[in-house]
């Protein structure tokens, strides 16, 4: 879990650093190699799990119709829901079946990923 967090944090920094450097290069050489098309997504266990959640919960967890938005919710809220589905403390439709597929550590990691979106 803490490894996931560290890994995620270590990968978030370079994209921003690179974007800043890229801006500098644009001024210097007239060529930008940095990302002009939005921020990079971290590469971590939380983001890989999270990216597959997006199949229903939408890109970056923005939600769609009655499928809830996850982006920007407090980590504790997302993790609490997932753990409730996992233990059948809360009844859903498909989420009870899906939440049982993840360890508590994975639930924490993916919750942090969506909280940061």
């Amino acid at each position: 879990m803490s490894n996931n967090r560290e890994a995620a944090a270590s990968r978030r920094l370079p994209a921003r650093a690179l974007a800043a450097v890229g801006l500098g290069l644009t001024l210097f050489a007239g060529v930008s190699l940095a990302d002009d098309h939005g921020e990079a997504m971290e590469m971590s266990n939380g983001s890989i799990i999270g990216s597959t959640c997006m199949g229903c919960h939408g890109f970056e967890g923005k939600g769609s119709g009655n499928i809830p938005r996850l982006a920007g919710l407090p980590k504790e809220v997302i993790a609490g829901k997932m753990l409730a589905y996992k233990s059948d403390g809360q009844e859903g439709t498909v989420m009870n079946r899906i939440a049982k597929g993840y360890s508590d550590e994975e639930i924490q990691a993916v919750s942090e990923f969506f909280a940061n979106q």
């Binding site: 920094l13 990302d35 990079a40 890989i48 997006m54 199949g55 597929g101």
Partner: protein
């Protein structure tokens, strides 16, 4: 905070790239003039477009080119709603403009060859693209020879498979609209493995819904070489609840496997019996898309063997195969699975470029099927790597409960899922 090793690598690469560009100003190529790593993706469907977008997302410095024969993708998921008259085909067609906005170089063209040694892809117009890593997501092709009398021409004109969404989807819809009340719709279902396991049964459900509303004296006959099918108890319960006995299913152990068709007499032969239909939907057995065979990526099974997690071909190093074309079991051949596979593949490729270990692979598959417009069912599973193999996580997944208590809710979720996954891939 200091810059991590990964950040340093990226920074070094970007700096090196400036020199290269300065030296070779004006050179137009997907080549390494910028010093960037190059990924070429063949196919703009669920697997390909996801791989293109997520490689770019995980590392925006990678030069990504996506090649597709069309300038948009019409999805097989929800094409049954077009056939059933519930959606227009434009609503399930997605262009590639959002990918272009993300910096993906989108090329319209037909790939005619892959040289895995030289790491180049050649197009019909003679142009070629170099790559460091290639992702092939060509979808499916058909074994027309498996059924006597069936051919691509018969499929295009008389007995559509409509198992690649597009013209044949519209042809099947038109045939249904022209059918008289009291007619018979016959489906020849495919043998395993095939694209979208619940798809044929959702299709007959939505055909039944159309006929019930418009031509209530009609019948549906499903001739199936298999002895069972995906979500069978749920489909059967839903069929009885919504359509009485309109749908008859004959399985493989009762002679359901279609061996011959005759488009002139509009008949099909299964288990030695000839059946006449007014509209006949023949979904033949399947294999990986053409280019996978041409490039030597498929084995004797007709599908492409890959390494767990990375999706790198076991037959051609440097080439990754995702989606329906790969042997991705236990994940089914579904759009959702292709999306999930492509994200893991994209992460593996970016990690390889940086000499890092990719994150632990993880997959989900959730397939909703509409038994009727307000009656949905689902199957879901979560997958992980255990002892070097992809396995379904024990104790997770499964199908909707019988009794239909969530059917209305799940019908709504089916639409919300479609909006989400298509937005994830082609929308932003």
């Amino acid at each position: 905070m200091s810059l991590s090793r990964r950040g340093f690598l990226k920074l070094s690469m970007a700096m090196a790239g400036v020199g290269a560009v300065t030296g070779l100003a004006g050179c137009q190529s997907n080549g390494s003039v910028t010093g960037a790593k190059r990924v070429v993706v063949i196919g703009g469907g669920f697997g390909g477009a996801t791989a293109a977008k997520y490689v770019k997302l995980f590392d925006p410095t990678v030069d990504v080119t996506m090649i597709d024969g069309q300038s948009s993708h019409t999805t097989c998921p929800f094409s049954n709603l077009v056939i059933g008259g519930l959606k227009d085909i434009d609503e399930i067609t997605h262009d590639f403009s959002a990918l272009e906005k993300r910096g993906v170089n989108v090329v319209k063209g037909w790939v005619t060859g892959i040289d895995a040694e030289a790491r180049t892809v050649t197009l019909k117009d003679g142009s070629s693209y170099e790559y460091d890593r290639l992702v092939v997501s060509p979808g499916i092709d058909f074994n027309y020879d498996a059924i006597e009398g069936y051919s691509e021409e018969v499929a295009n004109t008389t007995m559509p498979h409509a198992w690649q969404a597009g013209e044949q989807t519209l042809l099947l819809r038109k045939q249904l609209e022209e059918m008289e009340d009291g007619g018979t719709f016959i489906m020849a279902a495919p043998p395993n493995p095939f694209r979208c396991p619940p798809g044929p049964y959702e299709r007959v459900s939505l055909v039944a819904n159309y006929l019930k509303e418009n031509k209530p004296n009609s019948k549906i006959l499903v001739l199936d070489p298999k002895t069972g099918f995906s979500k069978e108890p749920l489909f059967r319960e839903g069929w009885t609840a919504n359509y009485g006995n309109m749908i008859e299913w004959i399985g493989g152990d009762f002679g359901g496997g279609v061996t011959k068709v005759d488009p002139d007499t509009m008949t099909v032969t299964a288990g030695g019996t000839e059946y006449q239909g007014d509209v006949i939907n023949v979904i033949p057995s399947q294999k990986a898309g053409w280019i996978a065979h041409e490039a030597g990526l498929a084995d004797d099974s007709g599908w492409c063997p890959i390494n767990t997690g990375t999706y790198e071909s076991t037959m051609k190093p440097g080439v990754h195969v995702v989606g329906d074309a790969c042997i991705g079991s236990p994940l089914p051949k579904s759009g959702f699975a292709a999306n999930s596979q492509a994200k893991n593949c994209a992460a593996a490729i970016v990690a390889m470029f940086h000499n890092e270990n990719p994150p632990e692979p993880s997959w989900v598959n959730t397939c909703y099927s509409l038994v009727a417009p307000d009656y949905g069912i689902s199957v879901a599973a979560v997958y992980e790597v255990k002892e070097g193999k992809t396995v379904s996580v024990e104790g997770a997944g499964g199908v909707s409960p019988l009794g239909g208590k969530n059917a209305e809710k799940e019908a709504g979720y089916a639409h919300d899922w479609y909006a989400s996954i298509t937005e994830d891939i082609w929308g932003s």
